[in-house]
Symmetry: C2
Subunit: 378 residues, 2 copies
């Protein structure tokens, strides 16, 4: 009886400690969201310092020896429970994360976050001017910091492996190369065959579309597919993302291009895919390592499911195109649904990731799902 | 030489420690700003917990024995410097704040912040319904927590004294009562005499004014008077406030009432008064206890200077009324400047603080300035 209570007390203490770490990370994420949406330029220096401090504090708590001992003391209890139960999964995931984080010195974390904040600020200034030269030194430092991070996990087969494992547990450069190699063999001929045909005419998307109306339409679409605005919101940013501060506050962002009708709505759909996934996680897991998306792969499977499989389908636009047409009467009244549907599915080669790697991602996800060991991974 | 270096090192360590405390408080303030502007309803519970945690961490650092010893070790050096120099003032103010904060247990701080967050959330729901009953238990708890806070400073002459001293160092219930008593003797007959006259007609302000146009006009006005939008921004909230995250990021808020033309612009002017004061503080003091407004009294002197002495003056509206009229042609074309000027200066008795106590505030500030001991108080 006494031993039983002791396990319960330890579990409660573990959850409390993990919740504090989650809250510190969430606070750092609020500061990042703000920096990417509303922060005035003048706030960048202090914001970098403030984010770095919160990340350092979260990291210090993540590697506290007391936490390590608590996790070790609970290992036996965890193994006695059903593998997929919440508590067994929590102890297992907490153990894995502790073992990883304890290898990274706190000052590396603070330097990496401060650099990320400074780079972001520089990038928002360099992007409008397309000024790559201004970013070179930042990118070099990013690479240095990434190599330094990997060095804490030596030995490894490839310097990228520790990073890939963070994003998708169990994946490596070798397994990713194998996967992408197989896909390439089939995809490259497909893309070539399509590009040998006359290009799809997507000029209907390249007219002038009022930004506010595009934003409102995108908001309507994501709300329609189930993204809950009582527990989230859509804002404008430079490069769209989804961020979670708690189960009751999962935010998405998009950008609006006056001359590209696809940008706002497909970015919003993509992020809403991430958002509904996060909003769908059980409230009982909130504030724990189980209370968030399980991997980059599963996350991307959700975002791209909504963006591409649903959002670029004929049926989707049979429903939404009439509203889009009423919103942009002048631009779309002479554009039939079929023309629009072909335009949003145009395939073209480019230097940045396009729909072609959506397939890559989704297959990647199927495989990482097979490897997946968390309770909330279903 | 060795001793001299040691003092410099200690000063550097003091500044570093105070900057960390300032950064933690700033992070908590970002979370509060977000809660008061953009946070979805669903975020309230976790946000309260997150704000409470940051405030507790800031408090823990504010009362760290190492910090106390550092301040004590620097006391002699501080006294050897010119009284008004930055370093002497920093050591003196750090000492005073340490002595105060060390009396308050960290768990009180966490409970008070969590309660403030929960109350704010309840208030945003109760306000539209004018549901006072829903707020009673929150207000009672606020009172309990305020009494508890004062108890850490016992003995005192009046339970409110520790709170008044926090807002305006050196002021007490007794000195405030004396001041207000003198003002009342002169103000009450003035207000009665004005209210005995026929009421000023302010119906010109009570028409319907598009909210977005009101907001844009208020933004133009505050920018014109020197509030720097590269280091700040104006947003909507329930109850307007000004908040500082760093010298490069001082934000103000306002609210817009479709049927009251005065609400948005005078709230914005008031907050811009706070804002330009904060934006005007030397960047060298940023992140230290000297790098923010010196007292509630001095702060209110600035906000009310701009809101009332400047913002309700004839000359101000000789400049801005033409633009306001062009903005609301239909509503104001037949309203002469004199009618408008009288309307915005209407005196009426009410249960909430009005322009009458502006005079109180400004006199109060003159007195607290005489008591003021900080370098940045000029």
């Amino acid at each position: 009886m006494r031993n039983r209570r002791s396990v319960e007390q330890m579990l409660m203490e573990l959850k409390q400690r993990l919740r504090e770490i989650s809250d510190l990370n969430a606070a750092a994420d609020v500061l990042s969201w703000d920096q990417a949406t509303y922060m005035p330029k003048g706030g960048a220096d202090a914001r970098g310092r403030q984010r770095a401090m919160l990340s350092r504090l979260a990291h210090e708590r993540s590697v506290a020896p007391t936490l390590g001992r608590l996790i070790d003391a609970l290992a036996h209890h965890g193994e006695s429970l059903t593998y997929d139960s919440d508590d067994a999964s929590l102890i297992r995931v907490a153990h894995r994360e502790y073992q990883k984080k304890v290898k990274v010195p706190p000052d590396h974390v603070a330097r990496a976050v401060a650099h990320s904040s400074a780079s972001y600020d520089a990038w928002t200034r360099a992007r409008p001017a397309n000024d790559f030269a201004a970013m070179v030194s930042y990118l070099e430092r990013t690479l240095d910091l990434s190599r330094e991070y990997s060095s804490y996990f030596a030995p490894y087969n490839n310097v990228a492996d520790p990073h890939i494992d963070d994003a998708d547990e169990g994946m490596t450069t070798a397994s990713t190369r194998k996967l992408f190699g197989e896909l390439k063999r089939q995809l490259v001929p497909m893309v070539r065959a399509i590009c040998a045909q006359p290009a799809t005419d997507d000029s209907s998307l390249r007219q002038s579309f009022a930004k506010a109306a595009q934003f409102d339409f995108a908001l309507h679409v994501v709300e329609s597919l189930g993204y809950d605005l009582k527990r989230g919101r859509l804002d404008l940013t430079h490069h769209p993302f989804c961020t979670r501060f708690s189960g009751g506050d999962v935010r998405i962002t998009t950008r609006v291009n006056e001359n590209d009708l696809g940008d706002a709505v497909f970015s919003a759909l993509h992020e809403a895919g991430h958002g509904v996934y996060e909003q769908g996680i059980s409230a009982a897991l909130d504030g724990s390592p189980l209370g968030r998306g399980v991997s980059a792969g599963v996350h991307e499977s959700q975002s791209r499911l909504w963006e591409n499989l649903v959002g670029r389908s004929r049926g989707f636009w049979e429903h939404f195109y009439p509203l889009l047409r009423r919103t942009f009467v002048q631009q779309l009244s002479s554009v039939p649904l079929t023309t629009f549907h072909r335009a949003i599915n145009k395939v073209a080669q480019s230097l940045i990731r396009t729909d072609a790697d959506e397939v890559t991602y989704n297959l990647h996800i199927m495989i990482s799902r097979l490897n997946c060991s968390r309770a909330n991974c279903a």
